[in-house]
């Protein structure tokens, strides 16, 4: 797919892409106790790749993703299920929250959120890329 996009869009995308990615991760981490979380963060990251696709075309966006979106969904689901299974190994009910240190926020809910984050990126990008191919 070869489209001539404006210089402004390409230059803007180059600056915005890393910012958006960073903002997505920021939302993911902030979601522990404040608005944000895996879903919102995933949407922002997906939007970053869609912007990249607008500016540089589909192939460039796929290359920038480094992996296929299906794999993101698969690994996200595995992470989410794994975060539920982990407490079972310690003899607690499925999905019980386990913390390394409750103050730091590092624990199974964060793993779960990371899973959601990956699934959302994968799902949105599959939709966007499929629509772009049609």
């Amino acid at each position: 797919m070869m489209t001539t996009t404006s210089l402004i869009l390409r230059a803007g995308a180059r600056v915005l892409m890393p910012l958006l990615l960073l903002f997505g991760v920021f939302l993911l981490l902030r979601g522990h106790n404040a608005p944000g979380g895996g879903f919102a963060g995933g949407l922002v990251v997906a939007a970053a790749y869609i912007l990249h696709f607008f500016a540089f075309g589909l192939d460039a966006a796929r290359r920038a993703l480094l992996t296929r979106p299906e794999r993101l969904i698969g690994s996200g689901l595995l992470l989410a299920v794994g975060s539920g299974i982990l407490p079972v190994l310690f003899g607690r009910p499925f999905l019980t929250s386990l913390w390394l240190d409750p103050a730091s926020g590092i624990g199974t809910p964060m793993l779960f959120d990371l899973g959601v984050f990956l699934v959302v990126i994968g799902v949105v990008l599959i939709m966007a890329f499929t629509l772009a191919e049609e």
């Binding site: 689901l77 595995l78 009910p93 499925f94």
Partner: protein, 494 residues
């Protein structure tokens, strides 16, 4: 060990692995089949524990009921989870005889497991909002499975299917809003302590009617069943099989669960209406089946008609009738799934399921005919097969409850079923086909059919113990205190 979560977590795990694994068809089929095997083991494990220890309860995340989401398995839920796993096993096994490449490339196997997860989740959940979520999971997976191939007929069918099921879902959600607004609870055990204790007002009746409509659409009850015969004959045989075997049963199960807990015996209009609906469903389904000229359409109408049988129990509310319905549900899952898989043989041999094109199977492929005879005659209710036993139990239950009309309808509809199945048998297996078929049938296509036929035979041989189990399940259902105590006061932890 938390066995109760396994029937939900395992299919999700399998689906995730299927997404990550290379998309080579054979590898995908083996992973999918292995996932179904592990799911079956887990389901049997849950069943054995429930049978031994009574109602199993798991508070997800350690949040005590009614604040968190509770998973509950009584005998009925455990039996249905085992049935779900068995259907999963048969359907994943049938993939070895070929899946159309377009479907397989778009994650067919993963979707089957997501569907299995949705069905197991609906059977195990103890929370009404969670039940809604599992309905949505099933709807999303089934919609994609139905529409993936994108032929004109399939898209048309998928549209009807989705439109009507979305109406059911939104009705269900509205009902939940009303329910939560009026009682402040969504946990079924807690609701069972609140609602039946109240004075019966218009509020309770409205709730009951809304539930009846929402679940009635899902379960394809008269007069809301039209989406089913309009859509179930279009997807490939294996997809039709899993839909027919499980999806409508979830609607029936939800009715049984919600009505026995939330509206035990009251409001009376609910049960009068349900009984009338069950009778009409039986009659309309089977009369419709007699008018059809296509193998899968006949099955669709038979499916609708027999859903009437499965709701007679909850409508009458006696132990014997309920046990008969539960036995019938189990028998029907095995038989109807099998018959849809058999329609796959016709699709393979003649590329159609129109009765005029079929025939000659008994003469040319006796093994296929013998394997197919078991579900056909079991559904027809020929003694001694499981369908006969189920109908006998239901008739006894109906007459025992002095529901003469219902008993009479069950008997009359049994005759219609016999007629419909005899016609199906003579047209598609017995008569001489108009064209000869030369195509070879891969032997592996018979494996899932043989498996399900063996289950039907096993249900016939072990009808006594199975009926005992159905009685046990129905006694648990008709004594909601057991369920409430297990959830709210903490029964045996899994």
């Amino acid at each position: 060990m938390n066995v109760l979560v396994l029937p939900i977590a395992l299919p999700l795990f399998t689906a995730a692995v299927l997404l990550l694994a290379p998309s080579r068809p054979l590898l995908q089929r083996w992973i999918s089949f292995a996932g179904a095997c592990v799911l079956s083991i887990a389901a049997v494990l849950v069943f054995v524990r429930v049978e031994r220890d009574g109602i199993l309860v798991l508070q997800l995340g350690g949040w005590p009921a009614p604040f968190g989401i509770t998973l509950v398995a009584d005998v009925l839920a455990a039996m249905l989870v085992v049935a779900t796993a068995a259907v999963g096993l048969a359907v994943t096994l049938s993939a070895f005889s070929g899946v159309d490449p377009r479907r397989e490339g778009f994650g067919y196997h993963g979707l089957i497991h997501v569907l299995l997860m949705g069905v197991s989740g609906a059977f195990l959940t103890g929370d009404l909002f969670n039940l809604y979520v599992w309905f949505e999971v099933m709807l999303v997976a089934s919609f994609v499975l139905m529409a993936l191939h994108r032929t004109r007929a399939q898209l048309e069918a998928a549209f009807k299917y989705v439109a009507l099921n979305l109406i059911a879902s939104s009705l269900f959600l509205t009902t939940l809003g009303l329910l939560y607004g009026g009682t402040g609870a969504l946990n079924m055990a807690e609701l069972a302590t609140i609602l039946p204790a109240r004075e019966n007002t218009a509020y309770e009746t409205i709730l009951a009617m809304l539930f009846l409509t929402a679940f009635g659409i899902k379960a394809a009850m008269f007069p809301l069943f039209f989406w089913l015969p309009a859509s179930y004959h279009t997807p490939p045989a294996a997809v039709g099989a899993i839909f027919a075997g499980l999806l409508t049963k979830v609607g029936v199960y939800s009715m049984i669960r919600v009505f026995t807990l939330l509206f035990p015996g009251d409001p009376a209009v609910l049960y009068t209406l349900l009984l009338a609906q069950a009778g009409c469903t039986m009659i309309v389904g089977l009369v419709g089946a007699l008018a059809q000229q296509d193998f899968r359409r006949i099955l669709s109408f038979n499916l609708v008609g027999h859903l009437g049988y499965t709701t007679v129990g909850v409508a009458l509310g006696t132990s014997a009738a309920m046990a008969g319905s539960i036995f019938y549900i189990l028998h029907h899952i095995a038989a109807i799934t099998n018959l849809y898989l058999i329609s796959g043989i016709f699709l393979r041999l003649r590329h159609t399921t129109s009765l005029t094109e079929l025939g000659s199977i008994f003469r040319e492929r006796p093994l296929v005919a013998i394997l197919a005879a078991i579900p056909v005659f079991s559904l027809a209710g020929v003694p001694p097969l499981s369908g006969f036993i189920g109908k006998l139990a239901l008739v006894r239950g109906a007459f025992g409850a002095r529901a003469w009309w219902t008993g009479g309808i069950i008997l009359a509809v049994s005759l219609l079923t016999l007629l419909s199945m005899a016609r199906l048998w003579s047209e598609s297996f017995w008569k001489t086909a108009p064209h000869e078929d030369k195509s070879r049938l891969p032997g592996v296509i018979l494996l899932p059919i043989a498996f399900l036929s063996a289950i039907t035979v096993a249900m016939t041989v072990a009808a006594g113990p199975l009926y005992q189990l159905a009685m046990k399940a129905s006694d648990q259902l008709l004594n909601p205190a057991l369920y409430i105590d297990a959830v709210l006061k903490g029964g045996p932890q899994p």
